[in-house]
């Protein structure tokens, strides 16, 4: 092994291991003695939880893939009425936190919600308990998370060679056949990347499942921690989530195999023109998705917010907005920089099982519930202090605890997957031939990175930054636990009010959050338009 690889290895390892630290801490819980709680859990909670979690994952996975892919395909490949603004509007639900969506849906569609009251009074239908079973919670998650698949699939469809599909068209193949035989297989990595994010997010969710009172694996984690004060069992259970995520990724890689999918050109040419009835039908479908996932919740929030704005709005919102801005921007930048370093293509990386392994590990934090991640981090730091004191140094606890550094660390660890997936997907578009010719012309690695890798990966980096920023904005449990004095964010205000059942007042910070996300997306769109034109 030559020296240069060694250097890459050391630096990449340090970065990846740091990011993965909370996961290690959580995993180490298995070395603690067995807790009697396992006996109780395995006979009471676990059997039901495992099947409930599996149903949820399958439902949400199927739903987001179906919805996200179909929507992306239509807006990219088909011209239909309203397509242009819908292509952009379909992103918007991404800015609505899943727990906000859940409390709006329950407020409208549960037994006492006006949708059901109307149904009973005017249509004479019997009422029903929307939280029974799992279909309603699955739909909520699908509307909250389909944008992950939509975003990635859309970018991928845009880079497909239209000529290939047109050839099929000329040969008389039906659209549906071309979709399944050409477009979908080519976009599979992107769709699966979106699916993985969705599944991990669903696994780690606590807000939506607690509003629906639907028991998943996180229920057991919180019960172990909150009810039985058995932090070690909570950590052991949480590490199982990481394991599930690891296998999901492993099988995805395995299935993808050695296939390479690249193309650098972005095409805005439409394959099909849906005029007349079929076009309007597509429009109707897409618009109704947009209405359900965004407009309806937004209107409901506006109504609630209108009633309570006088009571709720005050100068403290300047602080909330300030904290939210600093945290989202700084953590997005740090995450994206580290993710880019980790995702840079290079022979040293692909040849080393160790490196590919720990880089993967560094992206698993997304499957950890935020508060478990936060506690893992706290324990990790306090262990470093213990070691430092043992060797005659000083404890770092008082410097780190309650500082903004810790919170940023948590965000970077938790959202690395989001940044990394987006950037890594972009790096797949670098043609090996391009690298080979640059090498032949004697370009150094540094030059290669700055003049070839980064420019090609740039759209992915930008998209990754947006995704991380919006996720940080919505993040609740880790922020709640780790934030320093005076760093209350908008998400925390939403939580504090809604936890007390003050949904009307919670609508105010929720709306400010949506506005904030809209600004982030506006900046993203501006930069994207200016530099990459993927829109």
């Amino acid at each position: 092994m030559d020296k240069k690889c060694l250097k890459t290895k050391i630096w990449t390892s340090i970065l990846a291991l740091l990011v993965a630290m909370p996961i290690f801490v959580v995993g180490f819980a298995w070395f603690l003695p067995e807790h009697e709680l396992w006996q109780h859990f395995s006979t009471t909670l676990l059997p039901d939880l495992i099947s409930a979690t599996a149903i949820l994952l399958i439902g949400v996975g199927a739903g987001t893939v179906l919805l996200g892919t179909v929507l992306a395909y239509w807006v990219v490949m088909v011209e239909f009425p309203g397509r242009k603004w819908l292509e952009w509007a379909l992103f918007l639900p991404f800015s609505v936190p899943a727990y906000v969506l859940a409390f709006v849906y329950l407020g409208v569609f549960d037994y006492s919600g006006y949708a059901q009251i109307w149904m009973r009074e005017f249509l004479g239908l019997p009422g029903f308990d929307i939280r029974a079973g799992s279909w309603a919670i699955i739909l909520t998650f699908v509307f909250a998370f389909y944008p992950y698949v939509y975003m990635m699939a859309r970018a991928s469809f845009k880079r497909q060679k239209v000529s290939m599909i047109e050839a099929g068209k000329l040969l008389g193949a039906r659209p549906i056949y071309l979709f399944f035989k050409i477009s979908l297989p080519l976009s599979r990595p992107a769709v699966v990347a979106g699916l993985l994010v969705t599944l991990m997010e669903t696994l780690a969710d606590f807000g939506v499942v607690s509003l629906f009172n639907y028991d998943t694996f996180t229920t057991a984690i919180y019960s172990a921690w909150g009810d039985f004060r058995a932090v070690e069992v909570a950590a052991q259970l949480a590490s199982l989530l990481v394991l599930v995520a690891f296998f999901l990724i492993y099988f995805e890689r395995k299935a993808r195999g050695e296939a390479k999918y690249y193309s650098t050109e972005v095409s805005n040419k439409k394959l099909y023109y849906a005029n007349g009835l079929s076009g309007w039908l597509i429009s109707l479908f897409v618009v109704s998705i947009f209405l359900l996932a965004f407009m309806m919740p937004m209107l409901q929030l506006l109504i609630w917010g209108w009633e309570s704005i006088e009571q709720e709005w005050s100068v403290k919102y300047i602080d909330f907005i300030y904290s939210t801005t600093i945290l989202t921007v700084v953590s997005a930048i740090i995450t994206v920089v580290i993710a880019t370093i980790l995702a840079l293509p290079g022979q040293c990386k692909t040849d080393s099982v160790w490196l590919t392994g720990i880089i993967r590990l560094a992206t698993l934090g997304y499957a950890l519930p935020g508060s478990v991640m936060a506690v893992g981090l706290l324990y990790g730091i306090s262990q470093i202090s213990v070691i430092s004191v043992y060797f005659g140094g000083e404890s770092i606890n008082h410097i780190i605890f309650g500082s903004i550094f810790l919170l940023l660390f948590a965000y970077v660890s938790r959202f690395m997957a989001i940044g990394y997936n987006s950037i890594e997907a972009a790096s797949k578009q670098i043609k090996p031939s391009l690298i080979q010719s640059a090498r032949l012309l004697g370009a150094s690695r540094l030059k290669l990175i700055w003049q070839i890798y980064i420019p090609i990966m740039a759209p992915g980096i930008l998209a990754g930054a947006l995704l991380v920023a919006v996720d940080v904005m919505k993040e609740l449990p880790a922020t709640y636990l780790l934030r320093p004095f005076g760093w209350d964010t908008l998400a925390i205000q939403v939580y504090e009010l809604s936890a007390e059942g003050l949904f009307e007042r919670a609508a105010v910070p929720a709306l400010v959050m949506l506005l904030f996300a809209a600004i982030l997306m506006g900046i993203f769109q501006y930069l994207d338009k200016k530099f990459f034109k993927t829109f």
Binding site: H40, T44, L45, L106, D110, Y111, S112, Q116, I117, G127, D129, R131, A132, S210, L211, F212, N213, D215, T219, Y222, S223, W225, G226, D227, F228, R229, V231, S371, A374, V375, L378, Y379, S382, S395, N397, H398, F401, G402, Y480, L481, R483, F485, D488, I492, E496, L497, A499, E500, G501
Partner: protein, 332 residues
């Protein structure tokens, strides 16, 4: 080495000087910001001592206190539910405080026997019912809601909520585990809907005829009535001929490693005073812990009720058994 020591002692001195000069109490609170800020502002006006606070979840703040150890910023831990306070005390995070003022102001059953924490407001959990479909004479106790006559008519809050856990802990205290298990099974059989995430949802469900009776903390009822004075909902004081209404507290304790314990104790005592109690309980329509202070006008119309006098440290001791029992009986 010497220089290092000098710098260290200087910085410690500076810290001490700072805390004396500014005289600040730092509070970790799981009581929400909008409920404590007006109170702390008044305290600062009265005493010149300023109050810094950080809100968070009860459990998570305890975890943070533990990890921060001697380095903690917190002088006081404030939370809802006696179980949280009891646990903080059991983890050696609180300082025993036994002062005359506290003893005079707060009844014994709302205080820790060893003085680690003290209740500051009383949160009563009792029966709420539809005035259209339920007659008051059919209502009596918590355990009666397990009776067959309520089949398909009962709405309950999730077993994950601390209020439910504490209520069940009190049932175990009074009736033993076997009997409590039967009560829980009866409740589960009578449920009209999946247990609700919020007390406010329970009342909405009763109003829309999904169920007829439920259990809620009274301040949620107060909030609903303030908004809809004509709502067909009634409040019924449970167990008046037996053990009394189950009450829980919001409360606080001084932390073991408080850097300003004197001011923290002063704050705790002030919070138990008549002036503070009126604001404290009034802000959230809870009942004052200090029996000499009358309840807020808006809720005094519901009359006085007999409280369950079980010492609330029992809630902490029995909570784990309560959760196990509910999980065994399938109460989600």
């Amino acid at each position: 080495m010497k220089i290092k020591h000098l710098i260290l002692s200087l910085s410690v001195l500076a810290l001490v000087a700072q805390s004396i000069a500014s005289d600040t109490v730092t509070v970790y609170s799981s009581r929400k910001a909008h409920l404590i800020k007006p109170l702390f502002d008044t305290f600062t006006e009265d005493t010149g001592i300023s109050v810094k606070y950080l809100t968070g979840k009860g459990n998570a703040l305890i975890e943070r206190l533990k990890l921060e150890g001697k380095n903690t910023h917190a002088d006081m831990y404030m939370t809802v539910d006696a179980g949280n306070l009891w646990y903080a005390a059991s983890q050696d995070l609180l300082l025993p405080v036994q002062t005359k003022t506290l003893k005079n102001n707060i009844p014994q059953h709302l205080r820790d026997p060893n003085g680690f924490w003290s209740g500051l407001s009383v949160r009563a959990r009792t029966i709420v019912y539809s005035t259209e479909r339920v007659s008051r004479k059919d209502l009596s106790t918590y355990q009666d809601l397990a009776d067959k006559k309520w089949d398909g008519r009962l709405c309950l809050r999730t077993s994950k909520k601390i209020y439910t856990k504490s209520l069940v802990a009190s049932l175990i205290h009074h009736h033993g585990e076997a009997k409590t298990g039967e009560i829980i099974s009866g409740w589960v059989d009578n449920l009209a809907a999946t247990p609700n995430a919020k007390d406010s949802h329970i009342m909405d469900a009763i109003l829309s005829a999904q169920c007829d009776v439920g259990l809620v903390n009274t301040y949620y009822f107060a909030r609903l009535i303030a908004k809809k004075p004509d709502a067909a909902l009634g409040l019924f004081w449970a167990n008046q001929n037996t053990t009394g209404v189950h009450v829980n507290i919001s409360g606080a304790g001084v932390t073991k490693y408080a850097s300003n314990p004197k001011a923290a104790i002063q704050l705790l005592e002030w919070l138990s005073s008549a002036k503070a109690q009126r604001i404290y309980a009034g802000l959230n329509k809870e009942y004052p812990a200090n029996p000499n202070v009358a309840a807020d006008e808006s809720i005094s119309g519901w009359g006085v009720f007999k409280q369950d006098k079980m010492n609330l440290s029992q809630v902490g001791i029995l909570q784990v058994r309560a959760v196990k029992l509910m999980q065994e009986k399938g109460y989600r």
